[in-house]
């Protein structure tokens, strides 16, 4: 922040602009709200928590940020029962046992042997430790679906995100050389702890507007006809109003449009909707709701 003293406003503007255009070059259409938050992630070095419905590109934010910064993406997929062994590190037990056997005849003392088998050579680095150990530049650390992990893991994460250090009892404490940019995503299956939320910047990703979704489709599928794209996007936007159990996200829009291209269908009519229903609705009930809503209404909407 010190270097931008002369005209901080321009620097900020340019920073946000650079992210908008840089992300777009990488095929990710963003708005200034998300771009501002991402800019602050790079400037303030705070983690960002991204929430929103499924299929709106939450995970993509981290991937695109990594390629935008030209740095490594390290990903930790959370699941129930995720523990330190699979998130941070584990010792390579088989190798340790072998090493003990091999050194059996040597004249090393017990302490030396112990130091050897608990050295980095025998350490299996899992994503969180990897993100701390990166040597050259700050990596992007994606912690995906944090709401699926349990509270105990969340508490551990809190500790990591405040000090960026990991303690391994046998080796000592390892500090991060370069603080990782941390992106957390959540589907809101449970409320996260207040402490974790307060440590993070927050970004809510909503369903895109018609214009934005059009731009996303055109960017991702450059070969699609303007008219067909408009039909598909209008149709999906109308379907989102139907109170489905799983409303389609942008990923579904892209699936549907791509399916139509692959099938060589020039326009979205009743038959096309029927054939691509599987792209949009992921349950029998939702499919039935779309059918009863009527094709005319959905295409008009």
């Amino acid at each position: 922040m010190g270097e931008s003293q002369a005209s901080p406003s321009d620097a900020g503007n340019q920073g946000v602009d650079a992210i908008v255009s840089g992300f777009e070059r990488l095929g990710y259409i963003t708005d200034r709200s998300l771009a501002t938050a991402v800019y602050l992630v790079t400037k303030l070095h705070k983690p960002i928590l991204v929430e929103g419905h499924a299929g709106l590109g939450k995970t993509e934010v981290a991937k695109v940020l990594a390629s935008f910064l030209g740095t490594r993406l390290i990903r930790l997929q959370c699941y129930e029962g995720l523990d330190i062994n699979s998130a941070v590190y584990e010792w390579n037990y088989q190798k340790q046992l072998l090493a003990i056997k091999i050194e059996e005849g040597s004249d090393k003392t017990v302490e030396e042997k112990e130091r050897h088998i608990f050295s980095r050579e025998f350490l299996l680095e899992r994503p969180l430790l990897q993100s701390i150990l990166v040597e050259d530049t700050s990596p992007v650390l994606l912690i995906d679906e944090i709401d699926r992990a349990d509270e105990a893991f969340e508490a551990f994460l809190l500790e990591l995100l405040s000090d960026y250090q990991i303690t391994i009892p046998e080796m000592g404490t390892i500090h991060a050389k370069h603080l990782p940019y941390v992106v957390l995503t959540s589907n809101r299956s449970r409320d996260l702890g207040d402490a974790l939320k307060r440590r993070c910047l927050y970004q809510w990703i909503d369903y895109p507007s018609l214009e934005k979704e059009m731009r996303i489709v055109r960017t991702r599928l450059p070969h699609i006809e303007e008219e067909l794209a408009r039909q598909v996007v209008g149709y999906v936007q109308a379907v989102r109003q139907l109170n489905l159990s799983k409303p389609p996200g942008v990923a579904e829009t892209l699936d549907c449009a791509e399916a139509l291209l692959t099938l060589g269908m020039p326009e979205l009519d009743e038959e096309a909707i029927e054939q691509t229903l599987g792209c949009i609705s992921k349950s029998v009930e939702d499919g039935a709701k779309i059918r009863t809503a009527g094709v005319e209404r959905l295409l008009a909407g």
């Binding site: 709200s33 303030l44 046992l97 449970r190 927050y202």
Partner: protein, 380 residues
Amino acid sequence: MLGSVEQSSGAARTIVEFCRFARERGLSAGVQETLDALNAAAALGVRNSDEMKYGLRSILCSSKDSWDRFEECFETFWRESAPKARSSRAKAPRKDLTSPVDERTPTSLMSTGSGDDVSSEKDGAQAITGASARDRLTQADLSTLSHSDLATLEQISLRLFNQMSRRLARRRRIATSRGQVDLRRTIHRAISRGGDPMNLRYRERKPRPHRLVTLLDISGSMSPYSLFLVQFLYALQKHFRRADTFLFSTGLVEITSLFRAQRLQDALRALSQQPAGWSGGTNIGGSLREFNHIHRRKLRSSDTLFVILSDGWDTGDPGVLAEELYAVKRRVRQLIWLNPLLGLKDYEPIASGMSAALPHVDVFAPAHNLDSLLALEKHL
């Protein structure tokens, strides 16, 4: 709007004032957030108000709920504090100190207690209960008890509910097996023996209690039972790793955090302040739809117990009820419906709502007296 602020110290003060204003409006704008906001302002520059807004929003918000409230808060602040007023330590925001802060914060709920329950506590303390009196009470239908009996029963029930949840916890511990070999500790011990793992160390799998999701009907027809059922739920939820609790009548209110954070008496007091429509009408189907729409992700077919406590008198469309219940049913391990009316001798589940719901219910059990509630233990 921000363009008029030229000096950076003036801008900084405005940011601090806005943070204070936001805190008064219930956003989490503590010291750390304020410092972050200042840093963000320095990084973004203060000239562009849109970016400023987005930046402050990402710092001061921490949930969808606060995200939705931010816009209004931001607009109000800049509208109320004209450029001149801002330098004089913002009088406009100050006025808002007395305005509705956020009625949902637990502190305000706790401080405004009615004090009614104190007397019932006193009554209960002097109640002595012989075995026969206790049997009479635990088997009596809750809606037929006199006031003094209720107080006694409350004491008994608290004790029994606690016993039950302790039993549940113990049952789990005995059931766990010896677990996996802990290689890390085994190797540590093996070093001094040349690497032969002679003494194996074990690691136990952490017990995995089920998740519990409960929906309690608090409409008028349920009111004789509501208080006990709330206490029952309170005792129950302590021993599940995750317990989400909801009240419903015509709409749905989540009370999970209320329950988790407070002692029972405080929780009850806070509950009575909830605008949940105590003793109102019933729309079970609609409430379930709301649940499915917003909270569906809390259900997990591998380990979620879903409990509905309701008499099934539904003013809504039975078709909706059946449809939504089926949607729940597919996502949970077990769907339990507890119905106080089932204690009546000649009760038949013919109320249209109840008969629509029954095909999707795994366990249909009474909940009219203490014994029936305690009998639920075997399903947990």
